[in-house]
């Protein structure tokens, strides 16, 4: 069923009785050409592009809980293409272009809002680093503007310009950066994949990966065994555990990242603002809540919740940067499990096992990657060759050191990225 303003009017007039399920709940078949493990953003977009770009529809997405219940539904929804290292530059640039056509493509309003992202800097050295980044963005064909202090003040007059512990020197404005409605992204892809014939199987946890003679043959699940010619692992925070089912040990550590939302407020923050000195980023949702977050809790964990030291630190950073948000009340805080790699950049690759593919390592930046990752991963699975924008996301780069993409420059300590 197509969605449109007319349709909303027509259904509204007839009591909204005509809306049909946005996706089916099929019973799993005993065999598929391709099984995607993980019904998060990346798993769903992979399935969608397998069907749409490659005509492969004998595909199942197996999700242990409900679709979109993982990080895709827990993030702070920032969508940007402001990376500067080769590999990341072209990948996120491609992903952002997909975002820019996503509503039309999916016929689903994911509320992608290009409201502009401002990364603040607080010293000459940081300005130089951001200039390098901005120039790399323009080299890639994306957009960046270097703002001085007054330029920042024009956009964000509510920052503490007088007394901030780390004075604002300026900011890098990425006008095409912004946010999107995270759940809608998962649902839009789910609906698109389902309507093309992909089976989305919820409450179906993969408990084993079957391998015969170095080739994957299927998976074991809580809803029985499912045979498959190809299997894609796309389980974000659970990547190490699922890959272990295939005997692999990934260079991934899982860490907790918290996020926060306040009660609804009339519009006060129009951009996405990021404050590196405080590891703080914030935007305001269309519903009016201030959505913000900070750094990892730092200890490795699979518990999707965090603790007070980081909660307080994030609030402190917010108070330091923009003391006008003091009276906003935090309504809810939550945590997600981040699949952190040694260089902070992701992995989209084949594995040593034929027919088994790996997509993981999104750290806390994989929401914006949802379209690009699915697109490139589908390409890899369908054709057994890397898609150019994601060709550098090799798993063996950590072994040979070729093409490491350490944007933060913090090295192989997972929780520092």
């Amino acid at each position: 069923m197509g969605f449109s303003g007319w349709r909303v009017l027509r259904e509204g007039l007839s009591g909204n009785r005509g809306w049909t399920p946005q996706w089916r709940d099929p019973e799993p078949k005993s065999e598929y050409d391709i099984v995607i493990i993980g019904g998060g953003g990346h798993g769903l977009s992979t399935a969608y592009y397998l069907a749409k770009e490659h005509g492969l529809t004998n595909v199942a997405v197996l999700e242990k809980g409900y679709l979109g219940g993982g990080n895709v539904g827990r993030n702070t929804t920032i969508v940007r293409a402001n990376y500067f290292l080769p590999g990341n530059s072209e990948f996120y640039s491609h992903s952002l272009k997909l975002w820019e056509g996503l509503e039309e493509d999916l016929n689903y309003n994911v509320m992608h809002s290009q409201r502009g992202l401002i990364n603040l800097f607080h010293s000459d050295g940081q300005r130089d680093a951001f200039a390098r980044r901005g120039n790399a963005m323009i080299n890639q064909g994306d957009d960046a503007i270097l703002l001085d202090r007054e330029g920042v003040r024009k956009h964000l007059p509510y920052l503490d310009f007088d007394n901030l512990r780390f004075p604002v020197y300026g900011g890098l404005l990425h006008p095409r950066g912004g946010t999107a409605r995270h759940d809608a992204v998962a649902w839009g892809y789910a609906r698109g994949a389902d309507s093309r014939g992909v089976d989305l199987i919820q409450n179906c946890e993969v408990t084993g990966i079957d391998i015969e003679n170095g080739r994957v043959t299927g998976v074991q699940t809580t809803r029985g065994p499912i045979r498959a010619k190809k299997v894609g692992m796309v389980v974000a925070g659970r990547s190490s555990q699922v890959a272990a089912m295939a005997g692999m040990r990934l260079p991934i550590e899982s860490h907790v990242l918290q996020a926060f939302v306040t009660e609804g407020l009339k519009p006060v923050i129009d951009h996405v603002v990021s404050f590196g000195m405080g590891h703080f980023y914030i935007s305001q949702s269309d519903k009016g809540g201030l959505v913000f977050g900070g750094d990892l809790d730092f200890y490795a964990s699979y518990a999707a919740r965090g603790n007070l030291p980081m909660v307080e630190h994030v609030m402190e950073a917010g108070m330091a940067l923009m003391p006008m948000i003091g009276r906003a009340r935090v309504l809810r805080s939550w945590g997600g499990i981040m699949d952190m790699t040694p260089d902070g950049s992701p992995i989209i690759d084949k594995t040593g096992i034929d027919g088994l593919y790996l997509n993981c390592g999104w750290c806390y930046g994989g929401f914006k990657a949802v379209p690009g990752s699915g697109f490139s991963f589908a390409h890899l699975i369908a054709r057994d060759e890397h898609h150019a924008p994601a060709a550098r996301y090799r798993l063996d780069r950590f072994r040979d050191g070729i093409g490491l993409m350490d944007e933060e420059g913090t090295g192989a300590q997972h929780n520092l990225h």
């Binding site: 290009q114 917010g318 040979d400």
Partner: protein, 976 residues
């Protein structure tokens, strides 16, 4: 209307306040809601989406409707629950989310468009044309959404944070909590008793009920007084426990000044971190409304709220009340109302077996199926076996049963279980380690059961803590069984609200199910049910029931969503207290700070430190003038620079040398006492972590330096290596950065300067480049290092920090006498660029020793951290971008750090990028701009020309690639 003689308010203390511009009077002890209801004000807010007129629904912190803004300007506090806000003289409250006024709200038009605004409608439209989203649709949606408004001004008030520790934290001071606190306190445990209310008693404050033969509230007060008098008990009023965290950590918010007229000296709130060995959760229960058509009009309240206003605040919420329920509380409400002289027009009980009464008409087996009244309830329609009937009423009290307030037990991701007998979720045992639920939050609803469970919970905690309990008798109290027949929704024409706050109706939930958003989490996210400020406290269970119904599942099969911290919303300012302005991070100042500021030097942040940018001379109007002069001064005479901010780590022990060999790429064990060696440290992954010097002060003692930026990181790293990797090495580490004030004395005149200052002149033979040793300045033991970051003959002299200020002044005076003076960061930077010395602009975490041309410093004779990984093929070779020098050779002389490098004639796009610029500066020595940067295979390309391109600042400059050491490449000046 007030009812004479009833309530716990102080009628001798009238309080004057304003709401919506109108002056009102209430009494001490009133909340804004009770005082307004007493004045007959029912309309207090507008709903989120449809802008429906709303009045109070509850009498507690879970209130979804009566949200107001208190105060004005920067003091304006949006989204305040009128049911929690105590009134004080001068309080000003304003309605919110209504325009032009609360009575006539333009956006209530949305209500007419409701058929088109069903759950999730926005996912299906507003997609065309694409550019309209940011330009039209989103701005309109944003403006319509939101509740109250922030002022946009910095929060001017004070907030605090505090910490507390106890054996037992009791959360909630109703009968269960009071009993738990008493039992534990009598046993000698350290007890903290928190309640969000202004006084203890919990439901006892709202009920007309006796405990131990006294009114319940009096019993609670007496017990609280007794507890308060005990030295091991701390009673915290107005304190909400907001979150549960690992290891018995609880977050709590105390309202300190929010209920009082503004006083600058008083913090508004205090955020507590409480660490408790055990905790008893005695948080009670929240009554649930019933979803029937138009159940949201002002005048419709929970029955428990009606009793609370009546019994606690002496307020009759209306003149004609209809009571509707599925349980015995409906009858209790009617009885209380009649006893207070309020007319009960009807009691509508959905149970067929409902008891008749002679005090009011009872309709058994009947339900409410509609209501009327635009800005307030005027009548209700009931459906009985005989058909529908309209009854005039200005107030409706409804009770759908009670939901245990188990939210805190879910904060560590535990899931509660369903109990059919009470039709409610209750906590499973041990959902939070050490937290024991008791009383109504645990599904025990009678006062007697609460007292009993409170005592039992404390006994369990005491025994787990190994403490001996005393015999604490139980008070006499009612023990009525729960009698309830679940009733979640009444079908009928019109919308039935579940989530009042977010305007989610039963139809929305059914629509979600129809579109296969059948998982409870999907339903929540699709409809926004439970995502409003009350986090679904009033509505989640009913919404689940409606979903269960729509999907043909039972409630336990449908499952719950997760409650997350905080229990009630907490101001960012409270959790972030103290961080505004400079409070965000420590400020580190060197010992020369005062003298530097006296000289008018602008200070800049260097990590947490402040350092001088430059020292302006009279007549200099631009920083470059000062910088150029300072550079020349160092090159020609002598300059003084405070370098105390560099990390200094004292490394001692018989294995100090071996230890340093492991952490540095080069050999440190062979450094002779009295000598210094420059060293490079790698991270485990083979990239450069930091550089610095290691001075061997004696056989078993080194003093190593780090960069200012990496001081903390290096210290942590060394500690990790010493404790985690090589505990077998006998070595001790201490950071002495702040113990020593250290100054660079740099320039051809540096020895001359020192000679007159030190107690004995320097013997040139004994003090070659890279020597170190003890010296004395005016009798004070000092350390001298002959090292240089400027390329000049230079020393660094260190004294205990307490002498730093005077030494700096002395050094500067002597330098000035020799034609020199102090220099700042700008000059320091130019000096080091001229010499090709690196900083963290170059060792930015992605460069290797190979990249910076220092692979020879990785000793082949030994292992070191990072060596194996640095040998990976990708970390060396011609493909790597290598450190080079750059100087402008074309028309444009401009150079900017952050620019990228291209071959001349190629397009400046990613695939052509060859490298980038890391540092630039104008060299007064060489009379040109200079830059350091990284260029692919750069060392092999000296002499080539490259294009420097900075799109952001529109700079394009042709440069020549050269050796990064621009000045004095042989180092003659340094050694001489």
């Amino acid at each position: 209307m007030r009812i004479a003689g009833k309530g716990l308010i102080d009628r001798d203390t009238p309080v004057h306040f304003r709401f919506d511009g109108v002056a009102h009077q209430g009494f001490a002890g009133d909340t804004l809601a009770s005082a307004l209801l007493a004045q007959g004000v029912r309309l207090m807010g507008r709903s989120f989406k449809y802008h429906r007129p709303r009045g109070v629904l509850t009498a507690g912190s879970e209130e979804p409707n009566a949200l107001v803004t208190v105060g004005q300007g920067a003091h304006a506090d949006p989204n305040v629950r009128a049911t929690v806000q105590e009134i004080y003289d001068g309080l000003e409250a304003h309605p919110q989310n209504a325009w032009p006024s609360l009575r006539y709200d333009l956006l209530s038009l949305n209500d007419l468009a409701a058929p088109f605004l069903s759950a999730g409608f926005y996912y299906k439209t507003f997609m065309w044309p694409r550019a309209f989203w940011e330009k039209l649709y989103e701005p309109v949606i944003r403006r319509a959404a939101g509740l109250g408004a922030l002022s946009g001004q910095p929060d001017p008030d004070a907030y605090e944070k505090a910490y507390a520790f106890c054996d037992l934290l009791v959360i909630g001071a109703g009968p269960a909590g009071l009993m738990a606190a008493l039992t534990a306190a009598e046993a000698g445990a350290d007890v903290i008793l928190c309640d969000e209310d202004t006084r203890s008693g919990g439901r006892l404050l709202a009920e007309d009920e006796e405990v131990d033969g006294q009114p319940g509230h009096a019993w609670a007060q007496a017990l609280t007084d007794r507890l308060r008098a005990m030295p091991n008990v701390r009673v915290m009023r107005r304190t909400t426990v907001t979150g549960v965290y690992d290891q018995g950590t609880y977050g709590a918010l105390e309202r300190v000044g929010q209920h009082l007229p503004h006083r600058a000296s008083l913090p508004r709130a205090c955020f507590w971190r409480i660490v408790a060995k055990r905790a008893v959760l005695a948080s009670g229960a929240i009554e649930r409304p019933v979803a029937f058509p138009n159940n949201d009009r002002p005048g419709i309240m929970t029955a428990g709220a009606v009793r609370a206003y009546l019994n606690r605040w002496g307020v009759a919420p209306g003149r004609r009340v209809v009571v509707f329920g599925n349980n015995d509380d409906a009858h209790r409400t009617a009885r209380d109302l009649v006893a207070a002289g309020v007319h009960v027009a009807a009691l509508v009980d959905s149970r067929h077996e409902a008891q008749a009464s002679d005090a009011y008409p009872v309709h058994a087996g009947a339900v409410l199926c509609n209501t009327q009244g635009r800005l307030g309830l005027e009548s209700v329609t009931i459906r009985t076996a005989k058909g529908e009937e309209r009854i005039a009423a200005d107030t409706l009290a409804m009770s759908g049963g009670w939901n245990p307030s188990l939210h805190l037990t879910c904060h560590m991701n535990g899931r509660p279980v369903w109990r059919d007998d009470i039709a409610a979720f209750v906590p499973k045992p041990d959902m939070v380690p050490g937290l024991i639920p008791a009383g109504a939050c645990h599904g025990a609803f009678s006062t007697h059961a609460c007292l009993e469970e409170g005592r039992a919970a404390a006994l369990r905690a005491l025994s787990e803590l190994g403490m001996t309990a005393k015999d604490v008798p139980l008070a006499e109290a009612e023990d009525a069984p729960v009698s309830l027949r679940p009733l979640w929704q009444v079908l009928g024409k019109g919308r039935a609200w579940l989530d009042f706050q977010n305007d989610v109706t039963a139809k929305d939930v059914a629509l979600a199910a129809q579109e296969n958003f059948c998982s409870v989490e999907h339903m929540k996210r699709y409809t926004t049910q439970g995502m409003a400020p009350d986090q679904g406290k009033n509505s989640n269970v009913a919404a689940l029931a409606v979903l269960a119904d729509a999907t043909g599942r039972s409630i336990p099969e449908t499952g719950t969503t997760t409650f997350r911290p905080p229990y009630t919303p907490v101001a960012i300012a409270a959790m972030g207290a103290g961080a505004e302005g400079k409070g965000f991070a420590p400020e580190r100042k060197t010992t020369s700070h005062a003298a530097t500021v006296e000289r008018g030097a602008p200070m800049i942040e260097a990590g947490l430190w402040y350092r001088p940018s430059y020292f302006p001379d009279p007549g200099e109007s631009h920083w470059r003038q000062s910088c150029d002069r300072e550079v020349r001064m160092v090159r020609e005479s002598v300059g003084i620079c405070d370098v105390s901010t560099l990390g200094k780590i004292d490394v001692q022990g018989p294995d100090a040398g071996r230890f340093l060999d492991l952490v540095y790429t080069n050999m440190m064990s062979t450094v002779k006492p009295g000598r210094v060696r420059y060293g490079l440290m790698l991270r485990e992954d083979g990239h450069v972590m930091d550089d610095g010097t290691a001075a061997r002060l004696s056989e078993g003692q080194y003093l190593i330096t780090t960069t200012t930026a990496a001081a903390g990181q290096v210290m942590a790293h060394l500690d990790f290596v010493a404790q985690g990797l090589r505990p077998d090495l006998d070595v001790r580490l201490a950071s002495v950065t702040e113990q020593w004030a250290q100054f660079a004395v740099a320039g051809p005149q540096s020895r001359a300067l020192l000679d007159g200052l030190l107690d004995a002149p320097l013997d040139p033979e004994a003090w070659p480049f890279m020597a170190c040793g003890p010296v004395k300045v005016m009798g004070i033991a000092a350390r001298l290092f002959r090292i240089s970051f400027s390329g000049e003959h230079a020393y660094e002299i260190a004294v205990p920090a307490r002498y730093g200020d005077s030494l700096f002044r002395l050094l500067v005076a002597r330098a000035e006498a020799l034609g020199g003076g102090p220099y700042g960061m700008e000059a320091l930077n130019v000096l080091r660029i001229e010499k090709g010395f690196i900083t963290h602009a170059e060792i930015h975490g992605r460069t290797t020793a190979f990249d910076i041309g220092m692979d020879r410093m990785v000793s082949a004779k030994k292992d070191c951290i990072g060596k194996v990984m640095a040998d990976r093929p990708g970390l060396k070779g011609p493909e790597r971008e290598q450190l080079v020098g750059l100087r402008p050779v074309g028309e444009s002389k401009e150079m900017t750090a952050g620019a990228h490098l291209f071959e001349p004639g190629t397009e400046p796009v990613r695939v052509n990028a060859q490298g980038y610029v890391t540092s630039v500066g104008f060299s007064p020595t060489l009379g040109t701009m200079l830059a350091l940067g990284f260029l692919r295979n750069g060392r092999a390309r000296h002499g080539e020309r490259v294009k420097l391109k900075d799109h952001l600042r529109q700079v394009e400059t042709l440069c020549e690639v050269c050796d990064p050491v621009f000045f004095d490449p042989d180092g003659g000046r340094l050694r001489g």
